[in-house]
């Protein structure tokens, strides 16, 4: 076979690992190929934990209505998350008992941050 010629890296920066020939399994066949930086930085999927309430958008916690030990109903008010110039009332997706509140009023949270845990 002809050896694949190395591509010119226009940035002149240190080359990413994507130029090494690795293996890739597609439907049971193992191919020898390069892997892209984007491919290598994929995050593995995790099943969401139903006992955790995560922020759906980055923002700031305005107020918290519950504390550990509180019993909440489905749609019970938990907290207000200020994001994108909107005060979003976050309600409970489940009926249950609060195990812990992991955020404070005034705290900035990232998307996907765990805010409240249920028992």
């Amino acid at each position: 076979m002809t050896a694949p010629k190395d591509r010119i890296n226009p940035s002149g920066k240190p080359e990413n690992p994507s130029h090494e020939i690795k293996t890739l399994n597609v439907l049971g066949e193992i191919y020898h190929t390069r892997l892209t930086r984007k491919f290598l930085s994929r995050k593995p999927w995790k099943k969401p934990d139903e006992k955790q309430l995560m922020s759906f958008i980055p923002g700031t916690i305005c107020s918290i209505f519950v504390k550990p030990g509180d019993v909440v109903d489905v749609n019970g008010k938990l907290l207000i998350l200020d994001a994108m110039k909107m005060q979003n009332v976050i309600c409970s997706p489940v009926a249950g008992t609060i195990r812990s509140v992991l955020v404070k009023e005034g705290e900035k949270v990232k998307k996907g941050a765990v805010m409240i845990e249920f028992k």
């Binding site: 076979m1 002809t2 940035s11 439907l27 049971g28 066949e29 190929t33 980055p58 994001a83 900035k108």
Partner: protein, 514 residues
């Protein structure tokens, strides 16, 4: 004497405007490694060809003491000129004047040159270097953007539209480039994003530099928003000039006819393919073995490199190439490579540029991230684009053409005009390993030595189906050809398909899976 005085007055006024935001601002611009707006235009266009319009346009804002401010040309330079002797329309935002901010009159100048380009059927080249909306002008500034986006859209597919990002291009302003055909970026100079690092820091507390958020490299490799990446503005202008040699001036014209040339002798189609079907090769070596002078002008080289797109000439005529790249991710189709291919196919079709497809893909990239990113919808774009395209479509199956990938990559079933296959082609529902495991599951599990039986069945399947002859026996491919015959076959196919006419059902427009 009076006339002489008036002429002097005109010269003085011109000089004033040509100084843009003044010496200090120009010095700052140059210190950032950037050219001024007029210098850029002069560098890009043929010498002395640029004719400027609307030099004396002034803004009409009066709020926030704006009435006292004089903004030369309202921060944008527009005009016509030529590149390699062919006419073009151009605008360049002038960052030295109020940061190139877009106000009402600024946008009206851009709109004027856009209307010229569409009416006079010539390419529009927009050089973006602007801090964004001129906040003092409020909704008038937003109206200006809207007028530009509207024209970008209605001009799409009629004239080529090229965006050159030579500075910041942020917020709503990014949508004009996003609506155009080709976006050019330059290292350390181009910055594109919807929300900048400051907003991200305030909202998220995350610190990221402009370069890491929306620099040239990011848009060339990660987002795919940019098509061409250069290290300097000068290199960028050379890329634009090169691109213009390949594309037609409008959808009513053909691209320049260039003196046909043979491929260079060091590129031989017959020598590219490795013996082991699981080993990679660079599909660009195959392209170079068929195109004139082995000259292939690649588009979006760094993004979704598992598919290769770009222009090359066959017998002096421009062709668009869409090719799986076994060298990267085994050449699979995924979200990004589907988007990349589909948009390019539609570009070629809009300007009636023949599409040559080289196929070698094992299928779609497996993964939760792909499924959740909507690979179904993105993959469907490729089917849509090929099916809808009425430009000549010629397909060569080099090696693997499995499953949905076989159908998607310009197959006969999507109305390719000619489909060829190399003897190395494997046209099947899936690869031998996967297929044997399913078809012979029982035989394999019941065998005394399952692994041995599996290998035997895989081999059986490979011999029976991993070839082009089953598809050839059904007429799905027109000819099995030797690799070294590829150019000759392509040239002939392109010639006979050149005057193709296709009637499609009458409709307002389709609804592609955007």
């Amino acid at each position: 004497m009076a006339i002489k005085k008036k002429i002097q007055e005109l010269r003085r006024k011109r000089e004033e405007v040509q100084m843009g935001g003044g010496e200090a601002a120009i010095e700052k611009q140059v210190a950032m490694g950037k050219m001024t707006a007029r210098h850029r235009i002069q560098t890009l266009l043929d010498e002395d060809s640029f004719q400027e319009y609307d030099m004396f346009v002034e803004h009409d804002a009066r709020d926030f003491d704006m009435g006292k401010k004089v903004l030369a040309g309202d921060g944008v330079v527009i005009g016509t000129g030529s590149i390699s002797g062919r006419p073009v329309c151009v605008f360049a935002q002038d960052f030295t004047v109020a940061g190139g901010s877009l106000g009402s009159m600024h946008s009206r100048k851009i709109v004027k040159i856009m209307d010229h380009a569409l009416k006079l059927k010539m390419p529009l080249i927009g050089i973006n270097d602007s801090g964004g909306a001129r906040i003092q002008e409020g909704v008038n500034s937003l109206a200006g953007y809207g007028e530009i986006f509207f024209r970008n859209t209605i001009s799409s597919g009629v004239i080529p539209q090229i965006s050159v990002i030579l500075g910041p291009c942020a917020g709503g302003a990014v949508y004009s480039p996003a609506l155009t055909d080709f976006v050019f970026v330059v290292e350390n100079i181009s910055k594109m994003f919807i929300t900048g690092p400051e907003v991200i820091k305030t909202v998220l507390g995350e610190e990221i530099s402009m370069e890491d958020l929306g620099g040239a490299r990011v848009h060339s490799e990660i987002t795919g928003n940019a098509h061409f990446y250069a290290k300097t503005e000068k290199e960028c202008f050379e890329q634009i000039k090169k691109l213009l040699t390949f594309i037609p001036w409008s959808n009513e014209q053909k691209a320049l006819l260039v003196e046909p040339r043979l491929p260079r002798p060091e590129f031989k189609a017959g020598e590219v393919m490795p013996d082991d079907p699981k080993q990679p090769y660079d599909v660009r070596d195959v392209i170079k073995s068929v195109v004139d002078d082995s000259e292939f002008f690649e588009i979006q080289e760094l993004w979704a490199a598992n598919i290769v797109i770009g222009f090359g000439r066959m017998g002096g005529k421009t062709c668009g190439f869409v090719c799986n790249q076994p060298l990267v991710l085994a050449g699979v189709l995924d979200v990004d490579s589907s988007d990349k291919a589909a948009r390019f196919i539609r570009y070629c079709d809009a300007f009636d540029i023949p599409i040559v497809t080289l196929v070698d893909l094992p299928g779609y990239l497996p993964g939760v991230d792909q499924e959740h990113a909507g690979v179904i919808r993105h993959g469907a774009k490729v089917l849509y684009a090929y099916s809808e395209a009425t430009a000549p479509k010629i397909t060569v199956i080099l090696r693997k053409a499995y499953g949905g990938g076989y159908i998607a990559m310009g197959s006969r079933h999507l109305r390719a005009d000619f489909v060829f296959a190399w003897p190395t082609a494997e046209i099947a529902v899936m690869g031998p390993e996967g297929a044997a495991n399913i078809i012979f599951r029982k035989e394999i599990t019941d065998a005394q030595n399952p692994e041995e039986m599996r290998q035997q069945k895989v081999q059986e399947y490979r011999e029976k189906f991993a070839n082009p002859y089953v598809a050839a026996s059904r007429g799905y491919i027109d000819a099995v050809i030797e690799p070294d015959e590829t150019r000759k076959r392509l040239l002939h196919a392109l010639e006979v398909a050149a005057e193709k006419t296709v009637t499609m059902p009458r409709k307002k427009h389709g609804i592609p899976p955007f």
